[in-house]
């Protein structure tokens, strides 16, 4: 029986979907290795402890809470030291992080501090014999590797959407701990956080993504994409490299080989040809819809549903229809 650690990502005092999924993944591993405890680490500005209950709901037996004004924002150096110290003290079989920007920054630091093995960006996790195994997309998603870690602690980062949080209430006993390193002493300092548009859903977390390509012709026309995303209500917006190169959208919205890798429930590709470098970032989406005026466009080869047509004609109609469907609920 082995205990498993989870780093529960939060932002602005709130646990992220990523944090709930990390705890869920840890719960699954703990259950598969004989039903040990899940210990979550939750860090943030004073007040973040109130979020511990949400981690208990998805399977945390213990929540270690670090509250510090210097942790209102992600502080890599302090958090890596704190996570490493907790993992060392806890003697865990595995430690789960999220494969988000934050998690991908944090997990390798912790791995190196512990000289532990890290299996990154897992789309599936499990136990085979004595080893922790994960499935990890490689070669721009064209190959899937099975990575296996025999020694403890096995560190892993889990891609958003790889596990679905489900009610599995545990005690979630809160233990307050101190940061292992003072955030104020970190060598790298965040001097400014330029926030994106408020209320926008993170690309990684969004159940629906509406992405636009060069077929939209101009930056202004992205209002079609924004409006469709709005109609869904739970959608983020994405773009191709052709679009970010033009400066129509910021690079942070780029999806693909050199952009973000996403896996939403629904991906709507608007005026996107479907170049393989773009597919590298979205091919694991559950349902793909494509709207393109060229019926030979490669995007139709991987789309579940396609409409051959002009985006300026189809997208406004779809926006209206989605709005109507949502209103009918």
């Amino acid at each position: 029986m082995a205990n498993v650690f989870a780093y529960a990502e939060s932002r602005g005092g709130e646990v992220r979907k990523a944090g709930l999924e990390a705890v869920t993944a840890a719960r699954q591993l703990a259950d598969q290795t004989g039903g040990g405890e899940v210990h979550a680490l939750l860090a943030g500005a004073p007040g973040v402890a109130a979020q511990a209950a949400r981690l208990a709901e998805v399977g945390a037996d213990v929540v270690y809470v670090v509250e510090h004004a210097g942790l209102a924002q992600y502080d890599a150096e302090s958090l890596a030291a704190t996570a490493a110290e907790r993992i060392r003290a806890g003697g865990y079989r595995a430690a789960v992080f999220s494969a988000t920007t934050q998690g991908k920054d944090l997990s390798p630091r912790v791995a190196a501090k512990l000289r532990a093995a890290l299996a990154p960006d897992a789309v599936a996790i499990g136990v085979e014999g004595d080893a922790i195994v994960v499935r990890h997309p490689m070669y721009t998603g064209k190959v899937v590797g099975t990575l296996s870690i025999a020694a403890s602690p096995a560190l892993l980062s889990v891609r958003l959407g790889a596990v679905a949080p489900a009610p599995n209430a545990k005690a979630g006993r809160v233990e307050t701990i101190q940061p292992a390193a003072d955030p104020g002493a970190s060598k790298v300092r965040v001097v400014e956080l330029r926030e994106g548009s408020k209320g926008k859903i993170d690309l990684g977390e969004a159940p629906v993504i509406v992405a636009g390509g060069r077929g939209l012709k101009a930056a202004d026309n992205f209002k079609l994409v924004d409006e469709l995303a709005d109609a869904f209500g739970n959608a983020a917006t994405g773009a191709t490299r052709a679009v970010t190169d033009e400066g129509w959208r910021p690079h942070s919205e780029q999806i693909g080989q050199t952009g973000r890798v996403v896996s939403p429930e629904l991906y709507v590709a608007v005026g996107i040809s479907g170049a393989i470098q773009h597919l590298a970032g979205m091919r694991t989406s559950k349902t793909i819809v494509a709207i393109n005026k060229d019926k030979e466009a490669p995007i139709f080869k991987i789309a579940d549903y396609g409409i051959v047509g002009d985006v300026f004609d189809v997208v406004p109609a779809l926006t209206q229809a989605v709005r109507a469907a949502k209103a009918a609920h």
């Binding site: 932002r11 992220r16 924002q73 992600y74 920007t101 390798p108 630091r109 791995a111 190196a112 093995a117 299996a119 990154p120 997309p137 490689m138 070669y139 721009t140 064209k142 190959v143 899937v144 590797g145 099975t146 990575l147 296996s148 025999a150 060598k187 790298v188 300092r189 965040v190 001097v191 956080l193 330029r194 994106g196 977390e205 159940p207 629906v208 869904f232 970010t244 910021p250 690079h251 942070s252 080989q257 050199t258 629904l266 694991t284 559950k286 793909i288 819809v289 019926k295 080869k301 991987i302 579940d304 549903y305 409409i307 051959v308 047509g309 004609d313 109609a317 779809l318 989605v322 949502k326």
Partner: protein, 250 residues
Amino acid sequence: MKIAVCIKRVPVMEVKFAIAKDGASVDETGLKYDVNDFDLWAVEAALQLNEKNAPGEVTVISLGPDAASEQIRKALSMGADKGVLLKADKVPGDAFAVAEALAAELKAGAYDVILFGKKSIDFDNSATGAMVGELLGLPVVTGVSKLEIAGGKGTAHRAVEGGVEVLEFPLPAIVTVDEGLNKERLPSLKGIMAAKKKPLETKPAQLGGAGVTVSKMELPPERAAGRIVGEGAAAVPELVRLLQSEAKVL
């Protein structure tokens, strides 16, 4: 400034991969290779930093087989000054093993800045740069899309969930490069000629054991061919119906 850039030899991805007989690697037959995309931007960043803060020296380091000297030569032909090949016939999938070998080489170099790509597009570990930072006890900034160095200190922008962080850090430091920082220059004919005479040292990579083993590689299941619902706005009602009743996403 003394700058080091770690670059990886990776296959050109516009192919259909096959799995090798061992079942745990890709079949290399017929593959072409290039410098990892992100690492080209790291090389470009190094060259630009030194053009601004001359004089300086850019060293490129790659851990890989003999053939990785081609990728080092490419960086030299772009304008880097010297290369080091840490020879390993097989590059481990374990980022920490690679990080240790790179750190062993970087430790003695007294570099002001060490640049990495944000990720390698073949193994996609997104880990090596940050691990080397820990091993060398240096500050690390990952996924940088804007970088300035002046007066012994650096300023960088990085996209995070929900916005962009502006960061300051002291030198020496490790920076991993995201797309958007720059566009890499093409090697000039003159650069290609000059690169042939630049120093390229080869030594064995100090690889320890790997904690992560790649026990299997497979091709992902093909997506079942989809269907064209119809043409133009007239097809929208049918699409919405399918999204509701079949895909159940609306």
